[in-house]
């Protein structure tokens, strides 16, 4: 078990010199330079390789954190930018420093292969009612309110983006169709029924929506791939592509464009042909 401080110090680029493996719960941590700190050390720490790169520190250098100076015993890599931009302290010293002796904020439980995770979790919940057990990232919100806040902010941003997108798409489509009012008047004049004109508008709206959605999905996948290449986000962003996600995007976009087409369709259906023909 390893205590992890919250003193994130920035990011950098890869710098690997030595490889030794260590286990940190379910996550693999690799000491890439130097050695792990001694369990009872009070003046040693390990730096994530991004933090070391950013600070220009190497094994054996010193780093002042708060009112104390620590020697860099080793440099590690977790494969995740968030972990690699931090530092690790010996647990006993960190608990003392934080004036929280024997306090743990996070425990990883390793379960024997073949054992029932559900049964183990139920037993933990029963025997340690003061703890919160989680199995998935989503459940982590039960124990960490900041994650819940992040998820809430994410949902808020999504809704905001949808509202802005809907307004832009709907007004663009409405304006586009209103500019064609005269055309709809011509169609009415040559014998098209109101229903046929409205159906044409809605069909066009749906077609535009499908093409736009396909282009939008392709662009968003490319954007995610590009974002994943950012050093600061390496290893953090793990996109999940499921049929459900694409389906939601599809029917959300379809709803937007259909709403965008609805106003001009009703307008065209209700307009008198002569008035439409005179539209400039």
């Amino acid at each position: 078990m390893i205590g992890v401080s919250a003193s994130w110090v920035g990011d950098g680029v890869a710098w690997v010199t030595d490889i030794r493996q260590a286990r940190a719960g379910p996550h693999t941590m690799t000491v890439v330079a130097g050695r792990p700190f001694a369990a009872a050390a009070t003046n040693e720490l390990m730096l994530g390789w991004r933090a070391a790169e950013n600070l220009g520190l190497h094994v054996g250098d010193t780093l002042r954190v708060g009112d104390r100076t620590y020697r860099v015993a080793g440099i590690y890599s977790t494969g995740q930018a968030l972990g690699d931009t931090g530092a690790m302290f010996p647990l006993a010293w960190f608990q003392t420093y934080q004036r929280q002796p024997s306090q743990y904020t996070l425990l990883f439980v390793v379960i024997t292969p073949g054992a029932s995770v559900t049964a183990v979790q139920a037993r933990i919940d029963r025997d340690f009612p003061q703890l919160v057990s989680v199995r998935t990232l989503q459940q982590f919100g039960r124990a960490d309110r900041s994650l819940s806040l992040i998820l809430a902010a994410d949902k808020g941003a999504t809704v905001l983006a949808l509202v802005i997108g809907a307004i832009v798409v709907m007004s663009a489509m409405t304006m586009s169709f209103i500019e064609r009012t005269r055309e709809f008047g011509v169609l009415a004049a040559i014998g098209w029924t109101r229903r046929r004109v409205a159906a044409m508008i809605m069909s066009e709206a749906l077609l535009i929506g499908l093409i736009g959605t396909a282009a939008g999905l392709a662009l968003s996948v490319l954007a995610v791939l590009a974002v994943q290449q950012l050093p600061a986000l390496a290893g953090i962003l793990h996109p999940v592509y499921t049929a459900g996600i694409f389906g939601r995007a599809l029917y959300t976009a379809a709803a937007m464009v259909l709403l965008g087409g609805l106003v001009p369709a009703i307008r065209a259906a209700l307009a008198r042909p002569l008035e439409a023909l005179r539209h400039e």
Binding site: R182, E183, V186, L187, A188, A189, I190, G191, W192, T193, R194, R196, R272, P273, L274, L277
Partner: protein, 251 residues
């Protein structure tokens, strides 16, 4: 020009040969008034008019005399304030399916061609046949034939932006003929054309009169040459017929 007969449904009585003794007039307007803005503007003021089947009539007169309004009422694009309009004996006030009426009975040619810019020439003709029972292939074949009839063979795929003014107007005429209308209504069809294009359209109208003797033509125009091709010229003034006479070249 070939005389194309489509399988477009016709009203009862329309299949009788044109010009028969017991045929009702193609268009009959009785004491038609059209007022706007609550009566402040009177476009037509008790207009009465009778146009026989197969007849070609030019309607002329000063601006604002009600020429275009008259066409709009015959095409059922607008309704009269008072009076009755009968087309082939049927009272338009009783017609419930006005789009169907326009599709089956009326061909419209506007001063500005009013072609759909995103469609090709042949597609612009095809759109007039939507709502008929013709298959897609039949519509396409018929549209091609109509374009050939107006001397636009080879230009079927061109959008209106790639056609001259005269060519656009001929596409518009082909569109108006798509459903074999009983009545062709043209509102200043040469008003925006150059001299050469006017000649082409006049020639086309002359051919239509020869090859479609049953089709009635009502042409609103200020152009004396266009009016001269008609059987009868009607002068409108202040929303009613001022006088009418047979054109010099008519029989």
């Amino acid at each position: 020009m070939s005389n194309i007969r489509t399988q477009v449904p016709r009203l009862a009585g329309q299949d009788q040969p044109p010009g028969g003794q017991d045929q009702p007039p193609a268009v009959e307007m009785n004491d038609v008034t059209k007022a706007y803005d609550g009566g402040l503007i009177t476009a037509l003021n008790g207009l009465s008019l009778r146009v026989e089947r197969g007849e070609s009539v030019a309607v002329t007169g000063p601006s604002g005399c009600g020429k275009s309004t008259m066409l709009h009422l015959i095409a059922a694009l607008d309704r009269p304030t008072a009076g009755t309009i009968r087309v082939s004996g049927a009272d338009l006030a009783q017609e419930e399916n006005l789009p169907g009426y326009r599709r089956r009975h009326i061909g419209l040619v506007f001063q500005l061609h009013n072609l759909l810019p995103q469609l090709s020439a042949v597609q612009n003709v095809e759109v007039a046949m939507f709502g008929t029972h013709l298959s897609r292939r039949q519509r396409r074949d018929r549209a091609r034939t109509l374009l050939a009839d107006v001397d636009l063979a080879g230009l079927e795929a061109r959008p209106p932006t790639k056609l001259s003014g005269g060519e656009r107007q001929r596409v518009a005429i082909a569109r108006a003929l798509a459903n074999e209308p009983e009545v062709l209504l043209a509102d200043e069809p040469t008003g925006s054309l150059d001299e050469r294009s006017v000649d082409l359209v006049l020639d086309l109208f002359a051919r239509l009169r020869t090859e479609r003797p049953g089709m009635t033509m009502i042409i609103v125009t200020h152009d004396v040459r266009v009016a001269g091709t008609a059987d009868r010229i009607i002068w409108l003034r202040d929303g009613r017929v001022d006088h009418a006479h047979r054109a010099a070249g008519s029989a």
